[in-house]
């Protein structure tokens, strides 16, 4: 905050806090009294980490696996989504009619269908028709253990490779549509005079874009883009519908086998929150650094 004012604790704050505490107490009361919920927090830890007798140490368990899978999916979704979004965003501000049209159609289609439909279409069409025929999964399964290990580290267990790829791609295509619009808006926010000044010193259209527009647009684009990255982490939960073992899917598994509904979802919620919150604080620190750099 740049305002020199000291933040004061006002009456309204007191009222709000009282209300929130009252609400929490009420919810806990309902859980305890009405549905006679038996809290059993003790079963949760073994779904986070379990002791592996063979290796003689603690290893990641169901929920932790899901947590890692969500991170991997988000990273791939962000990388590919940004790639798609930047290309499509640039196409949308091109002079070429076809590029514009393509970018426009892409954004309109993706933004007007529910993401869950997109995930299913992608899974059944892309995975079963294209990936299977390409024989990706089989190729990896046939390849040596080194290759399999590599795939396991950067993607997933090779047996689930097709599911993972179609999940990551559908996330990327979904987020890519929003990133396209962010990129387009960022480029269009640069005054026309900047292009014209570049034109008048003889720069080609590409050089105008590369040296004048892009560096300025980059700064404008970073804040909304980092917001979109956070959304990607949250949106990745949707691929649980095609059984990719990410955090939400693993949550459902644990819930089904333990009936510890509240405990499981409280843990899942905290894990998502940890992920998004730490990312957003990293981003805001980076943005601040970028702004103070000039």
């Amino acid at each position: 905050m740049t305002t020199g004012q000291k933040k004061k604790f006002k009456l309204i704050d007191l009222i709000l806090i009282t209300l929130i505490i009252a609400l929490i107490i009420y919810v806990l009361y309902r859980i305890r009294v009405s549905i006679r919920y038996e809290w059993s927090w003790d079963i949760i830890p073994k779904y986070l980490f379990r002791f592996d007798d063979d290796r003689g140490r603690f290893v990641a368990s169901t929920i932790t696996h899901g947590f890692i899978m969500t991170i991997k999916l988000s990273i791939w979704g962000i990388i590919l989504g940004t790639l798609i979004g930047v290309i499509m965003g640039i196409l949308r501000v091109q002079n070429g009619l076809f590029g514009r049209f393509l970018g426009r159609i892409y954004v309109d289609i993706i933004r007007n269908i529910p993401p869950i439909v997109l995930v299913f279409i992608f899974y059944f069409f892309f995975s079963s028709q294209i990936l299977d025929n390409l024989g990706f999964e089989e190729a990896v399964l046939r390849a040596g253990p080194a290759m399999q290990n590599f795939v396991r580290i950067i993607f997933i267990d090779p047996k689930l490779l097709n599911e993972f790829l179609s999940a990551a791609l559908s996330i990327a295509i979904y987020e890519g549509a929003y990133i396209t619009e962010i990129v387009r808006a960022g480029i269009e926010s640069i005054p026309k005079g900047q292009w014209e000044a570049g034109h008048s010193i003889g720069l080609s259209r590409f050089a105008q874009f590369r040296h004048i527009i892009l560096p300025q647009a980059f700064k404008n684009v970073m804040p909304p883009l980092s917001g979109q990255f956070i959304s990607t982490i949250k949106d990745s939960a949707i691929v649980s519908v095609i059984s990719v073992p990410e955090l939400s899917f693993q949550g459902m598994q644990v819930m089904a086998s333990t009936y510890a509904t509240f405990e499981t979802w409280i843990v899942i919620t905290i894990l998502y929150f940890v992920l998004t919150f730490s990312c957003s604080s990293i981003f805001s620190r980076l943005l601040k650094k970028m702004q103070s750099a000039d």
Partner: protein, 256 residues
């Protein structure tokens, strides 16, 4: 002041028309010749097509009829010709249009580096010379926003000059400036004129026009209404429309 020798025709505009949005006739059948080393001042009321004419000269606007030839190169659909004209014609804008993310030095050397692919130390020497010429040597590593309006416009002039243009176009270069900064920009432009730069200047600075202008063009509603030498223009304007406009801007002290 030594007399300069006006040279061959370098800009030839022949019956050029330009329509915006299918109905706004910004230019109607405009013809104009400018010779080497000539300083042509264009005046006229708002919306008369002054900027549009200037912008057509370096290909910022497409013309729909007529032809433009600059330094024997036609401004046609050939990419090579267009590029040649763009690099030979410098332009200075009303609101400077400096690149805000670049230092003064980078603003000036972007053209030579990325268009002419010149070696960097060569460009750097010229950058310093140009800044000396426009009188801003101490701001070479500043960013545009750290400069006053007058300084920014002088950097913009240096940026255009860095491409060694044959012709300089100025579109109301002083009308976005605070009054006390107008003089410093006009000084730089006068120096350029004395050095024999071919200049087409849209301005309502009548003092400037009288001092260095060779010819004045008065535009109205997309047409050139009157074209005469500077002396004739002020002493005995022919057309009623011109007289009316002149009396208005002279009353206002020559400012917009």
């Amino acid at each position: 002041m030594k007399e300069k020798i006006i040279g061959e025709t370098i800009i030839e505009v022949d019956s050029v028309s330009k329509t915006f949005d299918r109905r706004i006739k910004a230019l109607r059948d405009v013809s104009l010749k400018v010779k080497q080393k000539e300083v042509v001042v264009i005046i006229g009321p708002s919306g008369s097509g002054k900027s549009t004419l200037l912008r057509c000269l370096n290909g910022l606007e497409e013309t729909e009829r007529g032809s433009i030839i600059i330094d024997d190169t036609p401004l046609d659909e050939h990419h090579k010709n267009r590029l040649k004209i763009r690099t030979e014609v410098g332009m200075v804008f009303q609101n400077f249009n400096l690149f805000p993310h670049m230092t003064v030095r980078d603003n000036i050397r972007t053209g030579p580096r990325f268009v002419r692919k010149e070696a960097i130390d060569e460009v750097d020497i010229r950058t310093e010379d140009l800044l000396e010429k426009v009188g801003i040597t101490d701001k070479i590593d500043s960013f545009p926003r750290q400069l006053s309006g007058g300084q920014q416009q002088r950097v913009a002039i240096a940026r255009a000059l860095a491409m060694n243009p044959l012709i300089m176009l100025f579109d109301e270069p002083t009308s976005a400036l605070d009054p006390e900064m107008v003089g410093e920009v006009l000084e730089v432009m006068k120096t350029l004129a004395h050095e024999g730069m071919t200049m087409v200047v849209v301005t309502h600075e009548m003092g400037f026009a009288r001092e260095v202008g060779d010819r004045i063009i008065f535009m109205d509603e997309g047409k050139i209404v009157e074209e005469s030498s500077v002396e004739d223009f002020f002493e005995n304007p022919e057309k009623e429309r011109t007289k009316l406009f002149l009396s208005k801007i002279l009353d206002n002290g020559g400012c917009e």
